[in-house]
Amino acid sequence: MTWVNAVIQGMLQGGIYALIACGLSLAFGVMRVVNLAHGDLAVCGAYLALVVSTGLGVPVWYTLPLVLPAAFAAGMALQVLLLRRALRGGDFATVLVTFGLSVMIENLLQVGATANDRVLNTGAIGIASVRLGSQITLPWLFVAAFLTACGVLGGLQLLLSLTSWGRKVRAIADDVDTARLVGVRVGPVFATVAGFAVATAALAGIFIGAIGNFNPLTGTSTLIFAFEAVVIGGLGSLWGTLAGGIALGVTQVVVGEINQAYAVLAVHLLFLLVLAVRPAGLFAGGQPARAAQVLG
């Protein structure tokens, strides 16, 4: 694989990281919740898609109309039944609750699905690739993932900018107490944001499962990558998260070209470097106040 090919493939892979990260970023920006079970919820999406696609005997893409709404509903339920109570206990409580949830999910998946690696049936797209010129061959799967990520992020951005719901979300992210005071009903907004977070996580999980294999413990590393993408890109902007994801993807693929064993380490080191040098993120833009909430 040539360098150009590697960089482009890294970018495309970054789209998936951005997709998994945007839910985390949204949830933190609006609700001040870091959901440590986020990665595991993505893996649940993959498992659900696996079950449905195997049961119906179709490629995993046909399961999306079922899996995504289910994930959205699960996110709302999670918020209303669990996170709302945890939020009253403060930051501490949400971190502890979501970590405990993560342990439960990973082990329930182990019980239900065994610890074996799984792959998703990706149908024809899974093996197709597109050629650009003589040097560049890109698997269709990666291209589709990247385009989907851009579409989802773009769609979310539109919703946030143009709709009444989006205004409420941004108002709450700015100042939840005043939002309540001027009559915004915060509960339903939190529930829908949580729904989006889990739905995007599930979608990302399906792509992750399509591109590589997955097992019950994949959630933890997924969470870590999502988190790193958010921090590298900077809080407060969905496009920043995309940039962060791309930075992650490119680093991983390019270093992987040199020596596969160092690829993941390189990503972690990039994260630590950004943390050391520019903790607000590379593309923080106009939201330094948001970063201050995270930095002690």
Partner: protein
């Protein structure tokens, strides 16, 4: 009471208030703990192997729980990556033993190595708070694990076996591990107790509950968190060395296992955050649960996670918290109690 009324009340009764730091329950505890420790120390003489094994596990739990509590319960640092220093301690012991140091004596340098490693890490990590600190601590643990697998001098992915124990017969070795574990556990509990009782404790709890307010009062927030983090790493390093002594074979996925952090979280949550007694109780509960239920594998862990979630939502101060709130017991008193009260209104 309106301000001028309180002033009048105090003016009328100018008796100084006596403040004490110890109480009867604490004396009883100290006495029975001392007696208990003597008995425990004698276990290898009258009970031998089968009794030692579970007790070693219990001691390790008590040490881990107390240390995690120092970080999360007293200083507001929810780290799920403390197991990183267990791994560092284990490998540290290996390195030290490789250079000829007696493995039992090596526990101390191994702990120090963990502490030294924690120093640069803290410069990065302690910039974060809350959930972001938690996830970043996971990253650090992942980095350590990967770094070790890439280093052939410590055995890469296969691991290494601990040298220097050939001279010990198995009975003696077991007994020495047992005593080492006991000493580490006592040191951790006593260390945390003394730290919290001293000025550090009040400052730490202020930092834990409201860093901005604490800073405005002059508490050096950064320094408190750094002290807690380093002390935690030191202790975890010792625990890691203990684990290496027990298993004799040091391998990345097991010494860097996140399961340790899951256990720590559970013990402190159930037992009671922010108290000295709580983690000990939590450790004993986890010990009991594990002895009975770990055969059920993943279901056991689902239970552990589930109890942790429930505990956070229903008894955030843990079982000991419920007890001490209700009856005011304090076996390891770290606060100040008023002995005489001004004349009641």
């Amino acid at each position: 009471m309106r301000p001028e009324e309180l002033v009048t009340a105090l003016d009328a009764n100018p008796r100084p208030v006596r403040v004490g730091r110890w109480n009867l329950a604490a004396s009883v505890t100290a006495g029975s703990a001392a007696a208990g420790l003597v008995t425990l120390a004698a276990v290898p003489y009258f009970a031998g192997g089968p009794a030692e094994q579970p007790l070693i596990v219990a001691f390790t739990f008590i040490a881990m729980a107390s240390l995690w509590n120092l970080l999360a319960g007293f200083s507001g640092l929810t780290s799920f990556g403390q197991h990183a220093y267990i791994g560092v301690g284990a490998y540290g012991l290996y390195l030290v033993a490789e250079h000829g140091v007696n493995p039992f004596a090596g526990i101390v340098p191994a702990a120090v190595i963990a502490c030294v490693v924690a120093l640069p890490v803290s410069a990065l990590l302690l910039r974060l708070t809350g959930g972001y600190f938690a996830v970043a601590s996971l990253v650090v643990a992942a980095v350590f694990q990967i770094a070790v697998t890439l280093a052939p001098s410590v055995g890469g992915t296969t691991g290494v076996s601990l040298p220097g124990l050939a001279g010990y017969g198995s009975v003696l070795r077991e007994a020495m591990i047992y005593w080492a574990a006991m000493i580490v556990a006592v040191a951790c509990v006593a260390g945390v107790f003394l730290m919290v009782r001293a000025g550090f404790g009040l400052d730490a709890r202020a930092v834990g509950s409201d860093p901005v307010a604490a800073a405005s009062l002059g508490v050096r927030v950064g320094r408190i968190r750094l002290l807690a983090y380093l002390a935690g790493a030191l202790g975890m390093g010792a625990v890691g060395a203990l684990i290496a002594l027990q298993t004799l074979f040091i391998e990345p996925t097991s010494v860097f296992s996140i399961q340790y952090s899951v256990d720590m979280l559970f013990m402190v949550l159930i037992g009671g955050m922010g108290t000295i007694e709580g983690p000990i109780i939590g450790a004993l509960i986890l010990f009991a649960l594990q002895q009975q239920l770990s055969q059920y594998g993943a279901w056991y862990l689902v239970l552990v996670g589930g109890i942790a979630v429930l505990a956070t939502l229903t008894v955030p101060r843990g079982l000991w918290g419920v007890v001490s709130d209700r009856w005011g017991w304090s076996l390891f008193p770290v606060g100040y109690q008023v002995r005489d009260r001004p004349h009641d209104q």
